[in-house]
Symmetry: D2
Subunit: 334 residues, 4 copies
């Protein structure tokens, strides 16, 4: 039995408690939050739950095996570090930390102590992304050409990170999961309207050595909510629209074939327009699978998909994007 | 009566002939193409039409007042230059020329000779863009925040220009029409898959001094056809989806209001979620209005909306985008 | 303070408890269900809630002012009758009763005892229907022409009523709310596939004296889920798509104008194609408004919108539809 | 070489001429229309075309093998009868004739004289319907449950037939093509708003001996244009949306399985939610295939898909629908 403490009962904490409660092999033991009024809410929904405002109490409790941290980004590092130092396995809400230095230090610490460090990149566990991963891994798409993601909506403005740290974060993790290669450079452009100094409209481009290109459009000032990913390959192309109630993933048997170049002024390519297919997706809640994997990795000392290394890669790309935004889109090596 | 010659009977030429034929005050006189088989097709559809393979014949014909050039991009400059030198008004298919040097030289030549030089940026004349221009000009949107355009589909690969010169070209002209300010820098990333050396996936960002940002996504390798523009303003936001059979333009009374910053950790903004409104659009074919405007501008010596100056601005941005693509997204001043 | 008992803790009971708990002036006191295991679930979610398997206990408890019945249709009549006889106000899940005789008897009994009898036709309280009612009442649509509703999906097969009693029930209540006139005849066609003897595909037509026609398509065997209502009027037309995440109600300034009939073979009509407008809708949960109205009507002895009389009208139409289905679509007077 | 005359140069005639012109083995010889101004238009578009206002001239011309009639419905019978009597093969625009008596008489006459009589039920030749026919014929859908069609839009009001003769006509032909059984009864409800005495909103139900049910919703007063067909089967279900630019036909691996009935109050069915698949459709213009088939059937004395017998069946159903509408939806045997 893994005894889990959830740290932070804000937006995401309740989801962690609900899912850990339903996870076999888990004793969802304690909830910790600095604000007593948050804990009153937690207690009302889960009368059996132990609550505390004192993180030290959790750290010193040797019966607690693991902590799940769902607090503001700037606090991730200190909370995770202390937990690891007290020999607890750690699940951290995405992104892993506010800097790659911090993220790197957490990865090193967890490795040294033989503890599981996992990042809550929930999307990596959802039915749609798992199906896409399966198709990519089988080679159904052929050589990969591009990944294009649009994540836009009105709000919710974050206070301690810009729109890229909030939203592109998901895509960078998905890319780390799907691709066998890592990006070589990052180019980003962003602006801050509405004047709180944090970018709320941004565009991010990742270049890969193979020629593959990934692009992410994030916007907190958009009138409509869009969550659309295109993944183009040599043989098949995927459209994943997360706003669709069903048939979220569509696989198109479409492509372009190179035709022998006979004449500069004649068509060089021919087009293939075949069937479209929308595979059934596993509707299991992604977070429940992630919680299950966390427990399994602790128990069997395996690496979770969204381990500390993936978390670190994501933070490195986010940092490079910030740097590029300050230099008007200049490509930054990663 | 303005006597018009159409040069080039390929993809666009037939549309020009059909529209000039229906334009009051125009005598659609001659069609010129290097290929006799193209002229056979033209003759079959328009038995009354004079056809010729000899451009000089058109140039020397003093009864011809104007030429409309719909030939490959690389030929625009020579053909337009010769026409202007023979005192003919000129309409050139977009983009105006293959380089800004050529474009600039055409603008200067037309000005010197007092001739009308117009570029066929058809979109600027369509009902949707005219309605958006009207709303922007009235100030309904408030301060403008961003313009985001997605123009993607499978094919048609061009032989003498990349995907940006083919597709972003439309958006740069629309922006030149909508905005009172010009971009200060251009950043672009593009790749060439399928190996003919011409970029077929590209992303383009335009920065403006006011903080306004424009972004254009072009792709000839996409499994679906999308033509969507978002225009975000302080007070209203527009979604223009050209693939919709009706209600192409939707105006959202949505936005974000800055709330006095009392506390770093409290929400700084509030959201406004109001009505949506889809104005009726004029369904008149854009090209027919453009042809009409060409004739009117010749007759009354007025400036068309998509004049040579606009055509030159578009080419300058396209050139900067090419340069940026070669430098991994570096911002290029324009 | 109105003390409420919820009878039946199956699919709908939890929603009633949640909403009554949040309703001002309500003491959500007891939950009654025949199955002890259902009550265990209720207790887990609401530890403070009194539970019982004995309905008589509720009836005899003089501190209970009102009961909300969410049990299978065939039990509505007996449970509601007993509650009224014990001087309790009653809210019954839709439809009110299994026959119009039963429904009529409940209406009479409630009137005689001066008690509030309300039916849980939740849709009548949702933001979309309230907005449509407002537009109709203001006369914005002009004379009403037709109402067309499609409610189809895969499952959930009901055991004690057919697809019309399950789904058309909503539309008949909405019509009773929107229209000032009542239907004069009902014609229905239905079939039972999958062989449990209960119609799972059905079509229902309601004729009105004014010429207005209402039609409802219900299907439990459809591959896609649709919830679309068209409401056509002389001056405006509405499309209400409940599956849309936003802009559920669209008002079209479209219509047909009669042109003086000059010649049998010339067009007799002209078309008006104006703007479309999607008003912002109140997102408040419909059931919470219904619960609030129930309490208000008890307190001030007012009539709720979905009172017993509306519930009776709905049951009469459903009965007529069943009769028509047995006679191959013959019109049945109501 | 089959020499064809097209009778009537209104809405449909130009399409016939264009397609017959492109059909191998056809000499598109004459166009006949009562109105000289229509013929002027025909001549302008097809300068090589012989035109005449005198139908007798066509009838007496022994070099004309076949006539294609695209005139108002009330004239179909006389024109087709005369053509058959002059030993010409006949293609008639849908519906075949204004009454089943007339239609029957044409079928008999053609048979007696050994001539091809075909009805222009174009939909039967389109890529989508041919693909659906193929899937049904292979048994992929299993036993067929229902067909549901929505054909609605604003206008165009017809002068000599109601909305069912205009629009449901397509579906009745498609059904005749897809189904091996014929309907046993027809039930219809319709109303006439806007006051020209011709129904512009109507609902039509066809019952079949097997339990299969077909329903058609037609409306000339709808604010939006919809063209959607659902075809439900035991094993697969199809959604055919003709307004989609691509992926018009979607095949859902969805259904309901009967579970042994153990207990009246337990679920009797289980649901199957599998993949969706959108087969590539042949984009060839349906009318060109129909023209080709007309010529082939004349040449080889074969029966076209949409032969006179199908045309007669369609007219019989339309007549029954009119009769049912006059009796408030009463089922009429066919």
């Amino acid at each position: 039995m893994i005894r889990v403490a959830v740290i932070g009962y804000g937006y995401w904490g309740p989801n962690l408690i609900r899912n850990f409660t339903g996870t076999q092999g888990v004793d969802m033991a304690v909830c910790c939050d600095l604000k007593p009024e948050s804990l009153t809410g937690a207690k009302a929904r889960h009368p059996w739950l132990r609550v505390t405002t004192d993180y030290n109490e959790v750290l010193k409790d040797k019966t607690i095996d693991a902590v799940a941290i769902a607090t503001p980004l700037r606090t991730h590092y200190q909370l995770a570090k202390q937990a690891l130092e007290h020999d607890k396995h750690v699940l951290v809400e995405k992104p892993l930390a506010a800097t790659s230095l911090e993220a790197d230090s957490l990865v090193t610490l967890a490795a040294k102590r033989g503890l599981t460090l996992m990042v809550d990149h929930t999307f990596v566990y959802c039915g749609a992304v798992r199906k896409i991963k399966e198709l990519v891994a089988k080679g159904d798409l052929g050589a990969l050409y591009y990944y294009d993601s649009v994540r836009i909506n009105l709000g919710l403005f974050q206070l301690d990170c810009n729109v890229i740290w909030d939203l592109a974060c998901h895509d960078i993790a998905i890319l780390a999961h799907l691709m066998e290669e890592e990006p070589v450079s990052v180019s980003a452009n962003g602006v801050c309207h509405v004047g709180n100094g944090i970018e709320n409209v941004a565009y991010l481009t990742l270049r890969f050595a193979s020629g593959f290109i990934a692009h992410i459009h994030n916007n907190w000032l958009a009138p409509v909510k869009l969550r659309t990913i295109l993944l183009g390959g040599e043989r098949k192309m995927i459209v994943y629209d997360d706003m669709e109630p069903s048939e979220k993933v569509k696989v198109f048997d479409r492509g372009v074939n190179v035709v022998t170049k006979e004449d500069l002024h004649r068509a060089l390519v021919s087009y293939r327009l075949g069937d479209m297919w929308a595979p059934r997706l596993d509707p299991t809640e992604a977070l429940s699978l992630l919680c299950k994997d966390f427990v399994k990795c602790i128990t069997y000392q395996e690496r979770p998909i969204s381990d500390g290394a993936m978390g670190l890669r994501v933070v490195k790309v986010l940092e490079a994007a910030d740097l590029s935004m300050k230099q008007d889109g200049k490509g930054i090596m990663v």
